[in-house]
Amino acid sequence: MAEEFDVEFIERGDRSARFLVRGLTPAFANGIRRAMIADVPTLSIDTVRFIENTSVMFDEMIALRLGLIPLTTPLDDFEVGETVTLALDVEGPATAYSGDIQSSVPEVQPADENVPIIELKQGQRLEFEADAVLDSGKTHAKHQGGVAVGYRHLQRVEVVGDAGEFEEQEPNILRGVIETEDGELVNADEFGNDLTQRYPGKEVEVHDVPGAFVFHVETDGSFSVDELVLRAIESLDLRAAELEEKVRV
């Protein structure tokens, strides 16, 4: 596996991206996907010490909601198992939002500020201290940095002839990303996922391109897509190196 991988971005955002990788085997593509889901650690609230909770929800229910709130995670500064202390104090009538959570480390903040934790009525109060721990998605789904991570084959569309002149053309539905005969990459969304919209009156053939995978990656806001993908590959790399070390004669 000495050949180079060729990576090309189709869409690139902070929290969502779509990119094409050539030169992968299906096993390696799946390895990257799994590493993105289960191996890249994120910070998430794990232990909550309630000082006062007179809201309509039980402590456990609020603790569950807190665990699911994504926290920005500077992965260079933390080791797996390290904790960050967070606190919140809101008195009703008001709604406690994720943005009200105070953090002891400025780099660790709730990634989204408008997540309602609990609506508090007159006289109700929520005050707690919580520990966020850095752990991987293997331990608990709340530590997954990647959301809806997946991949598809790149599909090559070739025009093989004209459709019958008097035939009613049926929709030819397709998802994912296609490669045209000129080598252009087009997301199927752009032509309404219907090949007859892009090639009206043409007969087309669709083939999977071997070794070319289109990844769609979203993150929950803990870090950017770039960070998630690079960390996932790094974790694969480390494990491959470890295996090489362990089985050496």
Partner: protein, 64 residues
């Protein structure tokens, strides 16, 4: 009771958009489909979280 923080199926954080969705599509008169598209809640698993949710805090709060 409160909107779930994440989508049950895919794990996307949907609660972030709840208040805006509620203000525009429930209390306002905008089309829920257009509001969800605008908020970037694209998958149908996430959309059902918003469409099928009912806030119950007001219902249970008198029985504390």
């Amino acid at each position: 009771m409160m909107i779930p923080v994440r989508c049950f199926t895919c794990g996307n954080v949907v609660a972030e958009h709840w208040e805006e969705f509620k203000a525009r599509a429930r209390d306002g008169d905008e089309d829920p489909e257009a509001v969800l598209d605008d908020l970037g809640v694209n998958r149908y698993c996430c959309r059902r979280m918003m469409v099928s949710h009912k806030d119950l805090v007001d219902v249970v709060s008198p029985y504390q």
